[in-house]
Symmetry: C2
Subunit: 138 residues, 2 copies
């Protein structure tokens, strides 16, 4: 039996495919550690995906692995931001767009609630005063 007849199976533990750099899988490990920290201390974290050497294929792979959750948030500020829960509760995929709809930055936020969704006390106080004024003018 010659060596040529031995079938070779390539076992690849990292994702392979066009455009994949192998930089995405370590992020899953980091997210897992950030989730543990969130559970243990309540500390939140954000990973700036735009600052990492990730290709569009890497981002697609990562997003596919994290899956889709039940909650989707849109925030209309100077551009639209979307904050989508992933299938991993506590992990949010945050995308910011400019006024023309182009993606300006992407983050993975590890938190019970994304920071941008929370109403700030000073804004609530302003809203309450606005409501009082409205009631006075009814």
């Amino acid at each position: 039996m010659s060596l040529d007849a031995i079938p070779i199976h390539v076992v690849n533990t990292l994702p392979a495919g066009p455009g994949l750099t192998g930089n995405a899988p370590p992020l899953l490990r980091e997210i897992s550690e950030l989730l543990l920290r969130l559970l243990e201390t309540g500390e939140t974290a954000a990973i700036d995906l735009s600052a990492l050497p990730l290709t569009p294929a890497d981002l697609d792979w990562l997003r596919d692995k994290l899956g889709e959750g039940e909650i989707a948030v849109t925030l209309q500020a100077s551009g639209e931001s979307t904050l989508n829960e992933t299938a991993c509760s506590g992990v949010w995929w945050v995308t910011h767009h400019n006024e023309n709809g182009a993606v300006t930055s992407q983050f993975i936020e590890v938190a019970f609630v994304p920071e941008l969704v929370k109403a700030h006390p000073q804004d609530v106080a302003i809203g309450q005063e606005y409501l009082e004024l409205m009631i006075a003018n009814l």
Copy 2:
């Protein structure tokens, strides 16, 4: 000069219009008090609009008065729920639909973040274990 010649101006302090019962304006006062309580104690509250004698016109009037905020949340569970920030920060208009898209209940929630948007620690723990399993199988 006869009395008939004196023009009468009806001054109505409550909203008037087809279908308006006058039951909606007191809710604005209640919401304002709930906002003060939120700011002072952090205590949240929800008003079940379905349980009150409000007509569709009352609800439209109320929603119009509260205005639209920057944040819109959709939650896909057995039916879709929408949780929309109003122009009064900390006041959320929450609508639950059944699987056929019909509205099943409506609430005004007074909170920094609607309760349903928060990830629960036990779900985060499940997500973290799921992620660990995924990493082990990469």
